[in-house]
Amino acid sequence: MASVDLRGLTKRFGSLAVVDDVSLRIDHGQLVCLLGPSGCGKTTTLRLIAGFLEPSDGEIHVGDRLVSSKLRTLPPEQRKMSMIFQSYALWPHMTVAENIVFGLRLRKLDRDTIAAKLKAILATTKLEVLASRYPGELSGGQQQRVALARALIVEPETLLLDEPLSNLDANLREEMRFEIRRLHDEYRYTTVYVTHDQSEAMTTADLIAVMNGGKIDQLGTPQEIYENPQSEFVARFIGASNVIKTVARDENHVTFGGVTLRVVGAKLTSGESAMVAIRQHDIQLSTQAPENPENAVKATVTRQVFLGAGRDYMVEMSDRTTLRIVTSTETAVPRGAEVWLTLPPERCRALGR
């Protein structure tokens, strides 16, 4: 069984720790997304797992094998892994078929087996008619499928994907997301998927590890990450959240815009600074005072934009802090008008960090 286990993994370039004490266990057959902005260390982590880089500290175990440590690193070719690269890395001097069977040829399989496997994978990835073309003659989406086929045909224990969809246009990207998930469910290899696109992570992953500054900021299922962000970074990075910086009154109340808000999430300490996250579309906006005064605040509209599917408001509190709100198109309030906001308590999440 090929679980992948990172233990205190660290990679320093000079004095800069690009990957900083990362521990992560990926069970056999799981698909884990490393999600984060560029420069957060996610690609470095992936290249460490692949064996292209040697760790400065920590270990990587695959199944019961130790494959990377400070002292010895198993070269990539001995790891039974496959990888899909951001650039696809298709060899321009080989045809599609030659690209795909490269790994099988290296494994010295006999001709008939190779032909059979090639036929099967070409069918799965819908590439039959393109087999004798050269990569330069393919569209981006077709190249992407060749890269997938090339990586999958060797039946790897572990599949690594490095921003595999970032070079595709929006429609194709959406389609390929589901395709990757489908193939994963079909073959059940352990998969590590690196992306900076949260919706890509949401649709494909069993588990998401949100990375920031070389560390894993939060690990959880897509739903947990979305509904229960534990840090300011995750709240801002996943979904569109307002993060309110304020002062705690007690363990689940904060002061905001002259009123007291009830919040859920992390336990707060009275008198200390606190951060509360609330999504743009969770705030209710109305022109009249709501019946239930709990968590209701008065504000002034400073900007209103019609987006088609909704309206995007910028409002200002009496203390000059601003919030962004997305509402349905029905509520049209002009700029400068006074409005009432309701911040539902169960949607106001106090953040630990």
């Binding site: 440590s69 070269p75 070719e77 990888m83 090339r150 990586a151």
Partner: protein, 577 residues
Amino acid sequence: MTITTTTTADTVDGTRGTFDWTRPVLWLFAAGLIVLVLLPLCWLGVYSVTDRGGHATLRNFLVLFTNPDFLDPLLTTAIIATASAAICCLVAAPMGWLVSRTDMPGRQFIRALVTASFVTPPFLGAVAWELLAAPNSGLLNQLFRFLTGAASDEYLLNIYSMAGIVFVISCYTFPFVFVLVANALDRMPGELEDASAILGGGAWTTARRVTIPLALPALVAGSLIAFLQAMTLFGSPAILALPAGFHTMTTKIWSLFQYPPKLELAAAAAMPLLLVTILLLQAQKFILGRRGYSVVGGKYGAPRLVEMKRWRWAALAFCLVVLLNPVFLPYFALLNAAFSPNATTLVTPATATLRNIVFVFTELSATQLALKNTVILGTATATIGTLLALVIAYVTTRRVIAGSRLLGFLATAPVAIPGIVLGVGLFLSYTRPPFVLYGTLWILLIAFLTINLPSAYQQLQAAFLTIHPELEDASRILGATRLTSLLRITAPLLRTGLIATWCFIFIGVMRELSAAIVLFTSQTKVISVLIYDLNESGDLAAIAVLGIAMLVITFAVVLAINRIPMFSTNAGTRLRN
């Protein structure tokens, strides 16, 4: 901590257990390179500060800077180099601007002609100018006497003079300045000039206030290169200065190898050339390094051409008159000599003969040997050099081993070693145990390898940069070792680059004279040395034949390589004289 090896079921289909040979092999290459480059320089340094008995002394340098025998060549060299650099700038800067920034007709044609003068070996140019402007027999002097009816001992031009040498050297050095200036102007975004125009600057104001200042660093850098080239050239001064009865530093160093050899003095005399070269190359790097401001940010359109109006044809005439000197006249003289019964008699259809060609290739015994040696050395140097440059370029672009930067530095270092200085260093290194190579082709192989390594390395490095490293990564993650990836993925992708590099080294070997001249023996003569010998014996027709053959091969290769997109920008500039 060790890697836990478990059951056989755990091994990766037979790839486990193969030893990665790449690192030891790479270290071996690194060691070889260090010996190649550093050994001659070390012996050069050691010899320059020892006397005949092997004791440390500074007397060699004392002699060098006090004895008029050495001071005069030092001064002569300085004058020649400075004058040549100045002339090169005066001629090349306006030409570069005309070709790059104006609507002068025939701009591509002019560029091609400059490339032609670029790839002409300077010693061949010098011989051609002997044919044209030797005081008595020179074609131009004959024309002068014919037109003016002057007496037979009168002459207009004397190529065997300081002025003559400066002129001939400038002819084959100005392309360095031209290429740098034209490239800088080509790259300069047109918007910079448009911005000046929209603010009210007229065409000439813009040229004066924007274009020229932006091209100035390239011009200065070019003049430094021209200076270096003129300073370290051996062929032209040897052909033109020795008959005139004076020496430059390079010919003086060469004369110290004649019997009785004074190796210590030769080593000491090579030192100033080496130091000035290193210094000026550093200066050039510094000047060009600050040029960054001309390519700041954003996307730019094509440059706007200055309209020359009625001056267009005058500009073209100027360029053509300039190119008369390095291209039209010399080529004409060489062709004339090749087909004429007498090298300096104008050939007519009635007197045209193939006798010279027959003589050179069938009767002249030295040709066979020199051709054979040149082909052997060219092939061997090109093959080994390409391989060496390939490995170094791989190591430096992919940072495979620690110290790859040092390796890259060593590979480019020979740029700063003038050919004749390298010749001296190699002579000192390989006439003694443990490497006694003098008198064999090996020493020439090492010399040519060292000389051609920098450009080969730079060329392949550029080629490597066009190959995404993920192409190699993809092969490795699928189970290929580093070596397999290199052979199956990288090598095929580099093929055109490799072929181009191979050809350039071959041409480079064919043209090399200044190192070969101190390293050859009677059995290891090469074509360039043969040409020099033939000049000594006055066999100018034979030189013309050999020279034309050499030019044809060179042009064929340069043309072929210009068709490869990766190298289309000034293939000629990669040659080193």
